[in-house]
Amino acid sequence: MKYITTIDDKEFEIEIVDEHHIRIGDRLLQVNFEAVSGQPVFSLILDGKSYESYVYQGEEDWEVLLRGQQYQVKIEDEREKRLRAAAGGGVMEGGEFHLKAPMPGLVVAVLVEEGQAVKKGQVMLILESMKMQNELKAPRDGSMGRVRVKAGESVEQKQTLLSLH
């Protein structure tokens, strides 16, 4: 099976040859790969080099925590790649974004109003949890849709706080 794996806009062509070999580009590498005690912690011995990493599926991509660095990894197999190519490769833009509470907490301040234009990275709301104030930022430019909470309100995890058009 061949995969196209993308990290930081760089593509890697990785072929799973058999249980103990992979091919990356034109290099054939020996792999010895094990999950550690039933956890999403993986030990990889790759041509003798020993690595350990925490690998799990994120919202869209895979996430890899390796030697203090976190990587968002996109993995497609050949079929998926072909499908995407056929569709013209256009990445969907826009659509509505719903900001959900990442954890239970108290809304300390709402810094945007409905209809207001916001920039990517702009702080929209401050949520207090675990004695810390957490700034929730806009993931992209847009205009504010419905604001469903106000300062002083307690919210549950995953509760929708506001929407961004």
Binding site: D8, I24, P40, W62, G68, V73, S129, M132, E135
Partner: protein, 502 residues
């Protein structure tokens, strides 16, 4: 002399105190909220009592319930740890009233140092330098403050009189923006402490936060155990501390140490306490405040002095003399503490909750971990996100950094996100290694992207790992489908039932 100590706290510090008691043959009583039935302090204590629901104000902040437990269990001393009731004068006073030994200073010392304005006034009287700012003031109006501000000079800080943890604090760059900031600072202080009073302080630029540990017995002996460098902070929350500070030389250490001792004496201090100083680029230092309790970062001082600070607190509270004179305190090597918080450094340090499913502690020479969590324990949103303190000792600062790097690499916590990668990136930072940082360093001159070199060199490995995991999972699910297909053909009905109930 007491023989049973109630620990009015939770988490790693409750465990720390229970350990010290056990090593002195003193019995321990834990208190716990409904969220903490399985917490380590409950498991390790001799006795344990439920005191209420998860939120702190219904449990760990309920002095009345804690006194009920003291009575029921026969505990004749209370150790407050840090946070919660540790710096509440009324709590300490009530202990005395009930004939329970409060393991800490006298209520009057807590009061004198708890009100920031009063603390400033007290130490100024004792001839101790403070950051220039408003003096001798309890209740200044906005007009008063706006008048004084230009005399202090900009930039300056508005700070809450009852403050702590950065709450009610505002940085002011000019007189124009000051009225708005005054209003918001007072509002925040009012909601956080029930006291909207604020004062002004000159903003020391490029400042370092360096604090001195002091110990005092009830016979008037006061000593200091050297300093801790605490400038690595984010939003006024300390993230890493080390001892000694690479910024001080012996002469300055001696000078600041003796002033720390003098500050403690100014409020007739007994037990363990910490004097915080700001030190500017030119090595001028200013008294900032005194923490009248055991400090989170006390272990680094223990590592370099060999003094068990909590055991010494217990001895002092039992009415014994200090076990050490100032001359007997020797500093040996270098210690660093990283605070391991359940928060995601790749996502704005957002707190993270969940069940810890797996954990592997770094161990071996020169490594100490103080923690209250273990595999199977649930991190809830009710309390502080600090879940462990990783402390290392080395003969030199360089050795300690290398050892910390090794220990961070070994530390595995699965189930919640932690700031371990932040500390790893910090250990690789050239500025940190060179000792070139101030209290603004993390917020202004540090980024998780600093480790860009190692990032790209490991990207291929990350790609391979993710691909192998994804491949394995798709193989597994394919097998599951195949098994089901077979089941359906042989046991059509059963297969469907099985899927229905998965």
């Amino acid at each position: 002399m007491f023989n049973k100590v109630l620990v009015a706290n939770r988490g790693e510090i409750a465990v720390r105190i229970i350990r010290a008691c056990r090593e002195l043959g003193i019995e321990t009583v834990a208190v716990f909220s409904e969220a903490d039935r399985n917490a380590l302090h409950v498991r390790y204590a001799d006795e344990a009592y439920l005191i209420g629901p998860a939120p702190s104000r219904e449990s760990y902040l309920r002095a009345d319930k804690i006194f009920d437990v003291a009575k029921k269990s026969g505990a004749n001393a209370i150790h407050p740890g840090y946070g919660f009731l540790a710096e509440r004068e009324d709590f300490a006073a009530k202990c005395a009233e009930l004939d329970i030994t409060f393991i800490g200073p006298k209520p009057s010392s807590i009061a004198a140092m708890g009100d920031k304005a009063e603390a400033r006034a007290t130490v100024i009287k004792a001839g101790i330098p403070v950051v220039p700012g408003t003096e001798d003031v309890g209740n200044m109006t906005n007009d008063d403050l706006l008048n004084i501000a230009p005399k202090i000079g900009f930039p300056l800080l508005i700070k809450a009189t009852a403050g702590g943890g950065g709450k009610g604090m505002r940085e002011v760059k000019s007189l124009e923006e000051m009225p708005t900031l005054l209003a918001s600072a007072r509002r925040e202080a009012e909601s956080a402490f029930g006291d909207g009073n604020v004062y002004l302080e000159k903003l020391i630029e490029g400042a370092r936060h360096i604090e001195f540990q002091i110990m005092a017995d009830s016979f008037g002996n006061v000593i200091h155990l050297g300093e801790r460098e605490c400038s690595i902070q984010r939003r006024h929350q300390k993230l890493l501390e080390e001892s000694p500070s690479s910024f001080l030389d012996d002469e300055m250490r001696e000078k600041m140490g003796s002033i720390a001792v003098k500050s403690a004496q100014a409020v007739d201090y007994v037990n363990a306490g910490t004097i915080e100083f700001l030190v500017d680029k030119d090595r001028n230092f200013y008294f900032l405040e005194m923490n009248t309790r055991l400090q989170v970062e006390h272990p680094i001082t223990e590592m370099v002095t060999g003094v068990d600070i909590v055991a010494e607190q217990l001895r002092i509270a039992r009415g014994r003399q200090l076990s050490y004179t100032q001359e007997q305190i020797k500093f040996n090597g270098h210690a660093i503490e990283c605070r391991i918080n359940a928060e995601d450094p790749f996502n704005g340090f957002m707190p993270s909750t969940g069940r810890i499913t797996h954990s592997l502690l770094p161990t071996g020479p020169g490594v100490r971990v103080d923690t209250g969590v273990y595999p199977g324990f649930e991190i809830t949103p009710f309390y502080d996100p600090m879940i462990a303190k990783l402390i290392v000792w080395g003969e030199t600062r360089g050795q300690a950094i290398l050892r910390m790097r090794r220990a961070l690499e070994e530390y595995r916590i699965v189930g919640v996100r932690t700031n371990i990668p932040f500390h790893q990136t910090l250990m690789d930072s050239h500025r940190f290694m060179g000792g070139q940082f101030d209290t603004r360093f993390v917020e202004e001159r540090f980024s998780m992207d600093d480790a860009i070199e190692s990032r790209s060199s490991n990207a291929e490995i990350a790609a391979i790992l993710a691909t192998l995991v994804a491949h394995q999972q798709s193989e597994l699910s394919a097998q599951r489908v195949r098994r089901n297909e077979r089941d359906t053909s042989n046991w059509k009905w059963v297969g469907r039932w099985e899927r229905m109930h998965r």
